[in-house]
């Protein structure tokens, strides 16, 4: 296995571990860190006039992730 491949895999795993750690920290009593769900909820609350732009953007990103991993 090349060094660059090992480095890429390690960094992806590290990012995943940090995401998991943040979610665990956020779910503790009295935490000042919002959960990922709360963060998504905040972003989805963004509107441009009557258009729910944040909601559309979050749905589009999640939809694309599903398509990218399961269909493309």
């Amino acid at each position: 296995m090349s060094v660059t491949r090992l480095l890429s895999i390690s960094l992806f795993v590290l990012a995943g571990l940090v995401l998991t750690a943040l979610e665990v920290l956020a779910r503790r009593e009295g935490s000042k860190i919002p959960t990922l769900g709360a963060l998504a909820g905040f972003v989805m609350g963004y509107r441009a006039g009557r258009l729910p732009l944040g909601r559309i953007a979050v749905y589009a990103v999640w939809w694309w992730i599903g398509w990218h991993f399961f269909a493309r």
């Binding site: 090349s2 660059t4 890429s8 990012a15 943040l22 769900g37 709360a38 905040f42 749905y59």
Partner: protein, 133 residues
């Protein structure tokens, strides 16, 4: 013998059970569709379209989101931006074996039916969670 449980709670349990069953069945079907097939494309597009419609039409009750975020929310940007930067770098370097993108690394893991169905279920559950937000 009488049932002392509130009627709403029982209905909620039934709704949750039906929802879980639907998500599991959808995942089991989705997991059986191979990547790059027309069926897989149409399936994920149809499911996404229905969930987006449910989320945008206001037909599903939503939890109230936070009005503002604490400063520590910025910590979420660290792993997200790091992974995005790494993904972009590997993609621009050709998405080769020495420079693998995340989807390239996930493909062998998602090749089996059960892991693929489980991942499909995770994606669907998260999507449903976003619809309810």
């Amino acid at each position: 013998m009488t049932d002392d449980r509130p009627a709403g709670r029982g209905a909620g349990t039934v709704r949750s059970t039906v929802l879980v069953a639907v998500l599991v069945v959808l995942s089991l079907v989705g997991g059986a569709l191979p990547s790059f097939s027309l069926a897989a494309n149409l399936y994920v597009l149809a499911i996404g379209a229905v969930l987006c419609w449910l989320g945008l039409s206001g037909r599903v009750p939503k939890r109230r989101g936070p009005g503002r975020l604490p400063g520590l929310a910025a910590w979420w940007l660290v792993p997200v931006l790091a992974a995005a930067l790494l993904e972009l770098t590997d993609f621009l370097l050709g998405s080769t074996r020495p420079h693998p993108t995340m989807s390239g690394l996930m493909d062998p893991l998602l090749a089996g039916y059960l892991p693929r169905s489980a991942a499909y279920c995770a994606w669907l559950c998260a999507f449903w969670g976003l619809v309810r937000r």
